[in-house]
């Protein structure tokens, strides 16, 4: 836990990556070329991963890069390239002043929510006492390394939910294959 030892180092990098993330997110929304937008989104993913690592959630950080940047966005790019979407000017998504106004209002509402949540007291089940958090941090050095404290509850207490989620994903994949597989008369 380096937060206590290098507070300046940590907060500097936290705000740095936060700033890059917000800037990249803005660029992602405003770029008209789908590939450029996708690349800015990848940058957002990287910054989020960096923020997770700074919060000592290294596993989540690695998974963020592995799943979102490394798999999902690659498939996005694949589809964009395969469809070879037309000139960026045809793809403008912002429709008229009413759409802009709605988007702005939704954005303001979300910002207000963040402000309120930042000042509110968290419910007790979402927070961790300082002593407990220290104990959780020490468990990292135990058997299983950083993965142990995540894997143990997942495969012991929440096994049913975990397996049901994986079944749900599997069903979605099988469904996609069934829909995608065309039954033409001369198919083998």
């Amino acid at each position: 836990m380096g937060n206590e030892f290098y507070p300046l180092f940590y907060s500097f990098h936290f705000y740095l990556f936060g700033l890059i993330a917000v800037a990249s997110a803005l660029l992602f929304v405003t770029r008209k070329s789908p590939v450029a937008a996708a690349m800015w989104l990848v940058n957002v993913m990287f910054c989020l991963a960096a923020l997770y690592v700074l919060l000592d959630a290294q596993f989540i950080g690695a998974i963020q890069v592995l799943v979102y940047a490394g798999a999902i966005m690659v498939v996005f790019l694949f589809v964009v390239m395969l469809l070879n979407l037309g000139h960026p000017s045809e793809l403008s998504d912002i429709r008229g002043n009413a759409g802009r106004l709605t988007a702005g209002l939704v954005g303001l509402a979300l910002l207000a929510e963040v402000m309120v949540l930042g000042r509110a007291e968290f419910p007790a089940q979402l927070t961790m006492a300082a002593a407990e958090s220290l104990k959780a941090a020490q468990r990292i050095d135990g058997p299983g390394g950083v993965i142990g404290p995540i894997a143990a509850p997942m495969f012991k207490q929440h096994l049913l939910a975990f397996e049901l989620t994986s079944m749900l994903l599997l069903t979605a994949i099988v469904g996609a294959v069934v829909i995608g597989k065309k039954r033409t008369p001369d198919a083998r």
Partner: protein, 422 residues
């Protein structure tokens, strides 16, 4: 690394920072020189395999050829084709190379080095999530090729980019699944813990041969090397994703290919061949850290990595390229199911052996795993495969299969020209 000498003190913050910078410089230098000389090694070894001389004019035995190549690439005219997406066209070669370099940050390359200022671990950053970090970084490697293909505004380049994204995403899954067994046996994702586990239990290549085989095949696909070089397939796509590149930008793609090759070799060595462990002795893993140990283990690590670099080159000049549908069906219909079944078998075996009360470092545990491994290798390669994939070029077809193929050919020959096969 807790098993090593606890008497050696941890270095102070400044010493740690200074030595980390030194390690980064050392790795970068050795790695870049290594990449450059791998290109020469490829030409020399291909010449040796084809009974030629190879480059032998620049310097003694052609050793300065690398420098000549570098100078040539830097001084060549660079063309920027019209209608390319400029930003991505320039960024893509760098994106192809950087992930290979970053992955080296977590690979342990030697036993700890004792210095007057404390014990220095011979790894740039011993992350607790080490293995997941390398997996995440290699999954980024595809962007360089995909973006190069797309930004070039060329149909062949685009096809190469599309092929590479499909291929790398597919084989990433097989690669990840094959390494789950290693993580099960090691019980940790930290690479230095995996090296220590292999030092005490024996190398994973002997305990988990099928996982090692799957990882090696997937690593070939991930690095776009023959027999999986479909993204650049010269005979079909006129060099694919880097058709439009010239001078040093073009050169970055071969450089990143060799860099990826060395990184993949290092990953294979770390996960399956004991990393920096010296076989048949525990001298290097126990007792106080000494300079001799650090030097010898680093040499052993380098030797293992170089062997696999040679192996990559050897395979390239031996095997022909896969067809695209063969590549996809190998990845999805063979490697993924085999890897999944293997995870179930290994997990059950570990559970049974732990339940039987055997110590993980004991000979009974190791022996049982190795025996299971031998049986599984026999079943996979000699019963399930029957010479189809391992030796397809010269294996004899079964009689009934030949008869079936002949009957199909005859039926087709008797069809009228306009008739469609039902």
């Amino acid at each position: 690394m807790p098993a090593l000498d606890p008497m050696q003190l941890e270095p102070s913050t400044w010493v740690f920072i200074i030595f980390t910078v030194l390690k980064m410089l050392a790795i970068f230098t050795i790695y870049m020189v290594g990449v450059a000389y791998t290109t020469l090694a490829e030409r020399k070894i291909s010449a040796w395999i084809q009974d030629r001389h190879g480059p032998n004019r620049v310097g003694p035995w052609g050793l300065l050829q690398v420098i000549a190549d570098g100078v040539k690439n830097f001084t060549k005219e660079e063309t920027m084709p019209g209608d390319v997406n400029k930003a991505l066209f320039i960024v893509a070669p760098a994106l192809a190379f950087i992930p290979a370099l970053i992955a080296w940050a977590v690979i342990p390359f030697g036993a700890p080095l004792p210095t007057p200022w404390g014990r220095i671990d011979l790894v740039v950053a011993d992350l607790p999530i080490g293995f997941l970090f390398t997996l995440a970084i290699t999954s980024i490697g595809v962007y360089g090729i995909v973006l190069a293909g797309w930004a070039s505004n060329n149909k062949y380049a685009l096809l190469g980019g599309l092929r590479s994204s499909a291929q790398m995403v597919s084989y990433e899954i097989a690669m990840g699944m094959s390494t789950v067994c290693v993580l099960l046996v090691a019980g940790n994702v930290s690479l230095s813990e995996i090296v220590m586990q292999q030092a005490t239990m024996g190398w994973n290549a002997l305990l988990l041969s099928i996982a090692a085989f799957l990882f090696l095949v997937a690593a070939f696909a991930e690095t776009n090397r023959v027999p999986f070089d479909l993204p650049e397939a010269e005979s079909e796509l006129i060099a694919g994703y880097h058709s439009e590149y010239s001078a040093m930008k073009f050169s970055m793609f071969p450089i990143s290919e060799y860099a990826n090759m060395i990184t993949a070799s290092a990953m294979f060595v770390t996960l399956f061949l004991g990393g920096w462990d010296i076989p048949f002795t525990l001298w290097d893993n126990s007792g106080p850290a000494t300079v001799a140990k650090a030097a010898l283990t680093s040499l052993f690590f380098a030797a293992k990595v170089l062997f696999f670099v040679f192996f990559y080159i050897w395979v390239r000049w031996t095997l022909p390229r896969f067809r695209y549908d063969q590549l996809m069906s190998l990845g999805w219909k063979l490697m993924l199911p085999v890897a999944l079944a293997y995870i179930v078998i290994v997990a059950s075996a570990l559970l049974a052996l732990d339940a039987a009360g055997l110590a993980r470092t004991g000979w009974a545990f190791k022996g049982a795993l190795m025996a299971l491994n031998l049986v599984l290798v026999g079943v996979l390669f000699f019963i399930l495969d029957r010479g189809r994939l391992i030796s397809p070029a010269y294996s004899r077809l079964e009689r009934e299969r030949v008869a079936r193929l002949r009957s199909v050919a005859q039926r087709r020959a008797t069809l009228a020209p306009g008739e469609i096969r039902s």
